[in-house]
Subunit: 406 residues, 4 copies
């Protein structure tokens, strides 16, 4: 069975682990490896990955390095932000939302180079293996999937490093010992988990944070910014129009400076266990609250409440890896339908880890001072109508009360 694989597209970061996987695939499956390295804004140089791939004998035409930042923000982060999605009430899904895009591009490359398999470096206990593989299978139902972490016997760090050294794979100094935690990063967030984070009673050590300053070290002066939205998507900061990825990068800078978007969470993985993670989502946190701000004046109550009820399910689908599923697309269709008039400007104050919406305006505002004013209005609302409204809403409760005599 092992011999069946002829060409495999590997999601390749250029780091130690995926380099070991690359070599292991060549050895174990005797197959050609095609490397795919995606720039999702993780903030690392990608060219070293090219050099390393060459070194391990990958053909020039089989080394793919793609800048996916704009596609990532525009087609994945933004649709998710329209939904106000939070997993378990708090988590902005920074890792989850990147996986389907990587999977999609891997499959596209596989089709392009005629590969019959794909492979990834996610471990056998996490959610990412599920997200990658559900993406692969949805887009290419009969593709062969190789998940080395579930197959090989390099199950300790020592074994891994031995394998690397045996095969002339360079091992960076900081990877020699056990890493105190592991991370994943992209334009939306950085996540950290493992080792030093494993006791959920212990505070996350300061050195784990990499994307934000400690709120205590943030400026003593708040900063006021505006974000413009069009049809639910952010399009400008302080009046300056920006592409999705540029805009998110700019918000990340602002968030970093003000210590925004840190989250210490114990969450429920799809594979059935609880894990403790630390997330930094500086720009995404600002975006999430700003989007709620603009929706407050542009979204009708019926639409807003339906969105709120659908959001936990939508978030769960993304977390569990079902981006390419009919039900996620159905929910997206409903959500997107609601965003047509979610256009306008939100003012926010950033201060010491906090994001505070302090103003919002829109050409499509549904907020009306006239209607809400206490003592004078233009006839839209007759206070006496409230009596009938209450009476009929109360009717069933009155009939119940008569019966049950509480």
């Amino acid at each position: 069975m092992t011999n069946d694989v002829k060409r495999v597209v590997l999601a390749y970061s250029g780091g130690l682990d995926t380099s070991v996987i690359l070599k292991w695939l060549q050895q174990t499956y005797g197959c050609e490896v095609v490397t795919f390295t995606a720039d999702l804004g993780q903030g690392e140089e990608l060219e070293p990955a090219r050099a390393k791939a060459r070194l391990m004998g990958i053909k020039e035409e089989h080394i793919f390095i793609h800048d996916l930042r704009e596609e990532f923000v525009k087609d994945y982060v933004y649709p998710m932000m329209r939904a106000n999605a939070l997993y378990e009430g708090l988590y902005l899904l920074g890792t989850s939302i990147a996986r389907p895009l990587i999977a999609k591009r891997q499959i596209e490359i596989a089709k392009q180079v005629g590969a019959d398999a794909v492979s990834h470096g996610a471990t056998g206990k996490g959610n990412d293996q599920v997200r990658f593989e559900l993406g692969y299978y949805a887009l290419s139902p009969d593709i062969k999937v190789i998940a080395p972490w579930r197959e090989w016997d390099l199950t300790s760090r020592t074994a891994l490093i031995e394998f690397a050294e045996k095969h002339q794979i360079p091992v960076p100094k900081d990877k020699r010992g056990e890493s105190p935690f592991s991370t994943d990063a992209n334009l939306l967030h950085t996540s950290s988990e493992g080792k030093v984070l494993e006791d959920p009673w212990e505070e996350v050590p300061d050195y784990v944070y990499s994307r934000t300053v400690n709120p205590e070290d943030a400026p003593d002066q708040p900063e006021i910014i505006t974000i413009d939205f069009e049809r639910g998507d952010a399009v400008a900061i302080n009046g300056e129009g920006l592409s999705p990825a540029t805009l998110l990068a700019k918000l990340n800078d602002l968030g970093r400076t003000h210590g925004i978007g840190r989250l210490d969470l114990v969450e429920n993985r799809f594979v059935g266990m609880k894990s403790r993670g630390m997330y930094e989502t500086p720009g995404g946190t600002i975006l999430h609250l700003a989007h709620r701000g603009i929706e407050q004046i542009t979204l009708d109550r019926g639409a807003a409440h339906l969105k709120d009820e659908l959001a936990p399910r939508y978030a769960e689908l993304i977390y569990n890896g079902f981006w390419f599923s009919p039900e996620r697309e159905m929910l997206q269709a409903a959500i997107d339908h609601s965003q047509e008039k979610v256009t306008g400007t939100v003012r926010l104050k950033l201060y010491k880890g906090g994001v505070h919406v302090i103003g919002r305006k829109s050409p499509y505002t549904l907020y009306s001072e006239k209607v809400v004013t206490f003592e004078d209005d233009a006839g839209a609302y007759d206070q006496r109508d409230a009596a009938g409204f209450i009476k009929l809403n109360a009717l069933r409760l009155r009939l119940l009360g008569r019966r049950d005599g509480r």
Copy 2:
């Protein structure tokens, strides 16, 4: 019809508006007025209300002043906190949750004194009229409800003050002119709305806040606290056991000091319009996040996700005034069922307006370092199981992919 009312129980604050109502009821309905003043922790002296009621001719045995603080927190705030209820994603429902208790006590007093009517001072455009009256009708289906603001012609402040002066009702200096905003307060929160808050693009002026310091003026040093929970309810701060109301008061102090719990919101009222409010929920904000923290390690995923899906509906029911409804009680039964093991301790950092969960522990924790550890475990989890898990979760997507060939 007006003459039908013989005795009415009025929710009486002792302030100008409800004093005018008291007099107006006596005049218009020619009925006896029974006053009910509730201490919900609004932070005002209540004895002046007694004096004022006497002055307006209310019989001693018809003046009711009840301290409802413990009942309020224990039987209303706490059950709601178990649900992690947020209206429109952000609002902790501080006003909404107090109304059913006032209504309930009013009805109890009405039964005690043989009153045939109840009355309140809520205006004809707000949610509170609905909350009061749905409560009345649910608990006493055939009670007569008098809502002066929907009936009388004192529709301007000037008219109201003239009426007051004509009837020797003292008018405090600060009530002579138009108030720049109106407020409601109880142990859980203070809300402000109207006038200076009516343009949602304008920042809320600093003088509107009364329960919290400006985060910029909060201490430069964070403060670490612990909260103990038992079966979903907070029972101790920093190890000191406290009754529900005492505990919430203590959290309010902490929140006030650190500028916690301010919310500037444009929300959708049940009566159909949008309004802009400013809320200060210092202790409640801490409690809400702490409860999420303890649930993270004690609640199973299935329970947690079901709660997250039910919470928006539950919050909407409370906001709309349906506390005493079968569907709110059904949801409460489900929520309460989930809280049996939500026991343990949460550590929080309070700093400059922010509340950060930094640790949680529990004798009933479902978090297991062993299970989650990457390289060694006690056999609870076999990484190879993940392959089958993914394969079967993918099956329907593969069948779809074969059909639809994305």
Copy 3:
């Protein structure tokens, strides 16, 4: 205020009640009346309505008689059928779905003739007043709405008939006395309620039924038919392509013959009370079950289950009159998204009141004999995968079990 109305568009059936309303509007409001009579397939001649309107002095160009049958089925009934909507588990919403279309056309006519008001003949206790008026207001926010049954003093049948006679409005013999029940009919259904139906313990008398034979009198031989669907909509019966209205009419004939679609229901009205109704939905009942049949093989589980969860809410919105609401449209967007491949053929057996799906096939079927077969398959499903699938699904339950020791 009364004098403000210059021209009103009345939903006019030509029957006694709306003729009285016509006259009453002329008298009370001194306004011009424009009549609108819709053919929704209720099975009545519409030309008499024209004659009657003329007789009561309506200008020729102010008499509108429109055949809306195709629009009704195509744009209202079919979208609703895609949702499998059932109110309170059983009711196919035949009356509810017609009201928004009538309201929409009334508003269009009002704009065309420059009318400033609309009026309808629905009573003050039912749902239809809500459905009409929510439609009016959604489509023409500042229109004046006149609901005579809530305004006038013709509150008894006697008073109504006296008024009619006084104004030379012909009173049909069968309308002289109290009618034993009232009905509403259109292409989708006939509903009956009131009087003889008011005791929910008493069986509905046979003479109430008008659209279906008694199952006991239906043919002793079952009839087999096929229905073809395209993208969720029925397009052919027994292979013969038919327009939506023609197709539904044909199914009505089949349903009538076989006694299909009778429903005796006590339901909860939006206005707060319970009422007992009898519905006959012959063709709609067949359509509903056939649609479920074709979805069974063409819809993915994720889509199907999401639809099932959204359907009660969707049905409630239609029942309550919120067809023209953002939330109904959002749900429709989600539902319609799911229907792209709901194409194929369903075989049904009709017999003595029953509809039985006995076969379904589709070019887009997701059902695969190969995959489901017990003893041989093409590698899509490895039974050993089930072990991992179960293990990971069980993990959280095992961790719970260890903690709680049931």
Copy 4:
């Protein structure tokens, strides 16, 4: 690993397949086998199972035959009926609901006899393996589970029969060849699937049905019955009080006679594929509709609609095997809370495959003729209230309409 098992409790029917499993367990695991045979009303003699177990060397004290019929109906079927649960809109979950009880009793026996493993005869492609094993793991997290169909190499019927013959296991004549379909039966239903049912376009052959007469052969006279409910559970038929299992058996007789409860369904299995099944649920179908009937007059709208929205999720949980999960229990708590006054009597007409509710009454009815009557009422409902009710419900739609100008 195989040698680790010392004693295993097998869910043993006494049939060919589980007899082969018994022997295979003895051989492969070299362990003691404890047999557990449950009477769930499947209508088979159980004593032959005892004889067969003895024959295969099972110790007398290791043969367990339990009559679980009353427990099954009272604690599993009835709670589910309270929920009006239907999987995928149609299926009454007859197989799904029996599995958790069998699993529970197996675990109890395992504890009693000190067994370290449990085993079942469900195949590797179906739902039942999941239901059994989730039950085992929830109730005994560290139990060893043996699923022979996923482990052994007896993957063809021929191999199975050879194994049986080799080990002197009697092979009934009708088991020699391929069975044209397979069945599962208990007091609630009989299900059939496989082989002759595998083409979903082909009608289910008549010989597959075993629990109901063909509607065409049912009596030409309808039969009228009454069912009494107390707190949501059926307690009497035609006034005669019956225990849960006796009552369901009686309804099964009635349903059989009148050809009630046949369902031809293509459903989505939890393991990811579609399958076609035929179900006969004679008594359950009557019970389901009768329960809806009594709820119609005794359940408040808020409770009823919440139940309708929760029911698909609840049904899915049972179908997928999550009976012993916190979320199923939470939903049950909500549902049970609603049933306190679901007491009364329903009249039904049974005829040629149809069940028709024709009357319902209750001491706790919420239906009020007075309130619903058109022309006269006792003041509970003022028609003029409807104007205000509609106006405020319309307000947000009017504001939307002004903005969007449809």
